[in-house]
Symmetry: C2
Subunit: 401 residues, 2 copies
């Protein structure tokens, strides 16, 4: 993508109502635009990051047998009456009989009921990457807590508690992998079940000052507890707990039979007797992940995207008005694109200072500069965003790699 | 995917309120589930078809320079007041100050305003694949007219009418390509501008009895007119018009300065004078495409997916309880998957009749059967969904291809 033509543009001014580092950096660097409290548009850079994260999540969900589906946002109020969640404060109701889905147990459970007759139909797991709506009284912290946001929600269905526990453990490991692949170290934190279940649930927390959750992490074994659980020592190893702040990028719940009870979701066991299906649910905040990565990976100059989720792999800069420079930069741009390398090409007519500052702000992993100076030295200059080292290399060497 | 484990299952019974061939077939074959009037869940088969269509649309939109973005569904009512579209009957309003986007001119125009200062910033085009909400008084015809549906909307911005006209033409050609790649012959049909513009617009219509539009197509040059325009002869070649029914899978609008006026979207021309930006908008009904393909591509036995949008390329069936058959079918399934071929594997314990009927109902392009009989004959049986010809081939010959 040529930067001069991109709808994503950097900006020197910060909106007056920017309430967090992620909102500030993502807005200034041209990734998002705020449309209302807790509501954002994703510009081309931001859309690309979303797609990268979605791709990682899809791979990991498919790897644990998740079947991708897509449920609607407009959901019948009557379904929510069955679980007693029809009057939850955060629910938007566009009509008297409709709720905008803020979670999808009320849709997936009747859907599973259509599928499940006997123990032979179990277990299975289905997920979606879909837009959720929550009328948060105080939408804040940029993309960390939105009123409209992208979420991955996986639901699993089982005959026995052991089978559910086993899958819960697989999902746990899969979640660690997703966050690691997104460049984030996550901590497993025990918490209450919120609006979802009366059982203990588990959160995946990334440590950041911008996080809204107060958690205690064991200094020895790294297990954590949400402070709402009132813990003084590590329940596992007895280690000291350190209180800190976290951003909850994922959560997993043992739902038991709460929703199977509400919708009468049964299966015939091997003896032909009817039993209730056991359920788990597993969420990842996709847009919150974008925000969390921005909170964790930045410096005073701007964003520093991990390679796996960067909008582009290379930020190519041409400097000055020299025709040879322009030609060489264009050639490199073309060659890289032919090799399916994602390149942002800054070919604007502006000074070196502005171009370097924008490259640092946008935060693409590798910067390549072509100028009269680099051509004299026999090539182009390469620099990683997270390092100060600068190296001159021959263009064709890079293109070969 | 193994059929026994899939959330997508076929059903012999048809829901009593099924109002169209697409709803009947897509529901019975396990592609979708109706959640409310005009609101559907996409089960694994349906989600796969959506993904295929999204992929085709993305490629073609990128090819005409479209930049992918994602705008929200929750949009501020004040934006709609500026264009006078705040009281449109089909608008859901989840709060007093919020409209669920049923189109996105009111969001993209202010977004472009942030970007566009001078003629140098133009032209550009941005698109999204996003969920739209329209409170249709009579949601009907299955997925053809939904209250919640997936849409691709592209918007383009220009300095001159000539430039807009040129891009409009490119978009037109791109649309023909999208529909052709989805296995559909589409007709360009002139129509009024509806709620979008006072100019003439163009629809892309696919001829089907299930279509809601009455159109007249020239028997000579194949240009068309919506009957609302009152035409007796072809305006281009004078040919006879044939009245027929169509499903509108796409539409394109010359918006002129309607939205630039409302949001004061200007650019400085070469002389430094302020001028209004000219806009075009271009929609494709993604979920409507799924329905239209189902309406066009079926026979008395079920769906017949064009290869490009089929949920799987191969429907593999093992017949009987013979262990050699099971082993060979498993081996073929594994080998195909290793080669990244999308296979639906029907390894259920049910009879040949049921398996064949389900294969015809689901409509995957190529069926492969492994049974004692085919093994005796030295291989497996292959048959295309749209042909009666059956052929015995050696497994390893197919795997090589």
């Amino acid at each position: 993508m040529k930067l001069s033509q991109s709808l994503s543009q950097t900006s020197k001014t910060v909106a007056h109502d920017t309430d967090s580092i992620n909102a500030k950096l993502l807005t200034q660097a041209g990734f998002v635009k705020k449309e209302a409290a807790g509501v954002y548009s994703y510009l081309p850079f931001g859309r690309r990051v979303l797609a990268k994260i979605e791709g990682i999540i899809r791979e990991e969900m498919n790897a644990i047998g998740g079947q991708e589906i897509l449920m609607p946002a407009l959901t019948p109020l009557e379904n929510w009456k069955k679980t007693g969640r029809d009057n939850v404060e955060i629910a938007f109701k566009p009509t008297e009989k409709t709720v905008l889905g803020w979670s999808h147990e009320e849709i997936i459970t009747p859907l599973a009921k259509q599928r499940v007759k006997s123990y032979r139909d179990l277990p299975f797991a289905a997920y979606q990457i879909q837009t959720k709506f929550r009328n948060e009284p105080r939408a804040k912290s940029g993309l960390l807590r939105g009123r409209e946001f992208l979420m991955k929600d996986l639901y699993s269905f089982h005959t026995t508690q052991e089978d559910l526990a086993e899958y819960y453990e697989r999902a746990k490991q899969s979640y660690f992998k997703v966050f690691e692949r997104c460049g984030l170290k996550s901590f497993l934190v025990a918490a209450g079940g919120g609006d979802f279940t009366e059982n203990i649930s588990h959160e995946f927390q990334v440590l950041t000052e911008a996080g809204e959750d107060r958690i205690k992490i064991c200094e020895k074994c790294e297990l954590g507890w949400n402070v709402e659980l009132n813990i003084s020592k590590c329940e596992k190893c007895g280690g000291e707990l350190r209180e800190t702040k976290g951003s909850e990028v994922g959560n997993i719940f043992d739902l038991g039979t709460k929703y199977s009870d509400a919708f009468d979701l049964n299966f015939a066991n091997k003896e032909g007797k009817q039993q209730k299906v056991l359920m788990g649910c597993y969420g990842i905040g996709v847009s919150r992940l974008v925000a969390t990565i921005a909170e964790v990976w930045n410096d005073e100059k701007g964003l520093i995207w991990p390679e796996s989720v960067a909008p582009f792999q290379i930020h190519l800069i041409s400097l000055g008005k020299d025709e040879d420079v322009k030609k060489e930069a264009e050639r490199i741009y073309k060659k890289l694109r032919e090799r399916n390398v994602e390149v942002l090409f800054d070919e604007r007519n502006c000074g070196a200072g502005e171009k370097f500052a924008d490259a640092d702000l946008i935060g693409i992993p590798l910067r390549i500069v072509v100028s009269s100076k680099t051509l004299e030295k026999g090539g182009m200059e390469i620099k990683k965003r997270n390092s100060e080292k600068v190296k001159i290399v021959k263009a064709d060497e890079i293109l070969k790699k």
